[in-house]
Symmetry: C2
Subunit: 116 residues, 2 copies
């Protein structure tokens, strides 16, 4: 195998909010629209809808509509989407360690500036 398939994985995560949505859906198995919106500070309705649609289109997330008033829509990960869990966990773990590393870097840089 020669070609790089990392981008194929990244395509799924691409977009400013997709990973946050997935992160929430790994913590809570099933969530309603506004529940997600509240859980993700800063996201707009437009973006939440758009990103969810893309995830749905990629068969990562499933959308369940209850025909009632007021409307009720539930989102959850598909069985296939759940195959992303280990990956998300790994990224989360690496990210946590990197956050620490970042602080060290910043500390060093402010030292340099201080000495300059």
């Amino acid at each position: 195998m020669e070609t790089c398939k990392v981008d194929t994985a990244l395509e799924i995560l691409m977009g400013k909010w997709k990973h946050r949505i997935l992160f929430e859906l790994t913590k809570n198995d099933v969530m309603r629209f506004n529940e997600l919106k509240r859980a993700i500070p800063g996201i707009t309705q437009k973006m939440l809808t758009a990103q969810l649609r893309e995830l749905e289109h990629h068969d990562i997330v499933i959308r369940k509509v209850y025909a009632q008033i007021p409307p009720k829509v539930e989102y959850s990960m598909t069985e296939y989407g759940k195959s992303l869990h280990p990956l998300l966990d790994a990224m989360h773990e690496w990210g946590s360690k990197h956050a620490i590393h970042l602080k060290e870097l910043e500390a060093n840089e402010s030292l340099k500036e201080h000495n300059a």
Copy 2:
């Protein structure tokens, strides 16, 4: 731990070419500028430079300059950057499987269109 650190990991990979660069640098331990450029079809000099600079700034990649004419610059991953290897592998592996899943999805959709 409550906050999502997946984005911290994604920040490293963000940008159209970063993952490709890292992918090459996992295959070949150390590469020269033009060697990378040749290995990554479609990338421009500007982008290659920019992305390398960011990776360098994040302490993922190291840049070694030889003071000679013609110039010679070598890029390689830092020890710290190598901690990304397992993650990149995992993404590559998931991506490979997903590429197959994608074909099934497309097949289903063309079926739907055909029946419509």
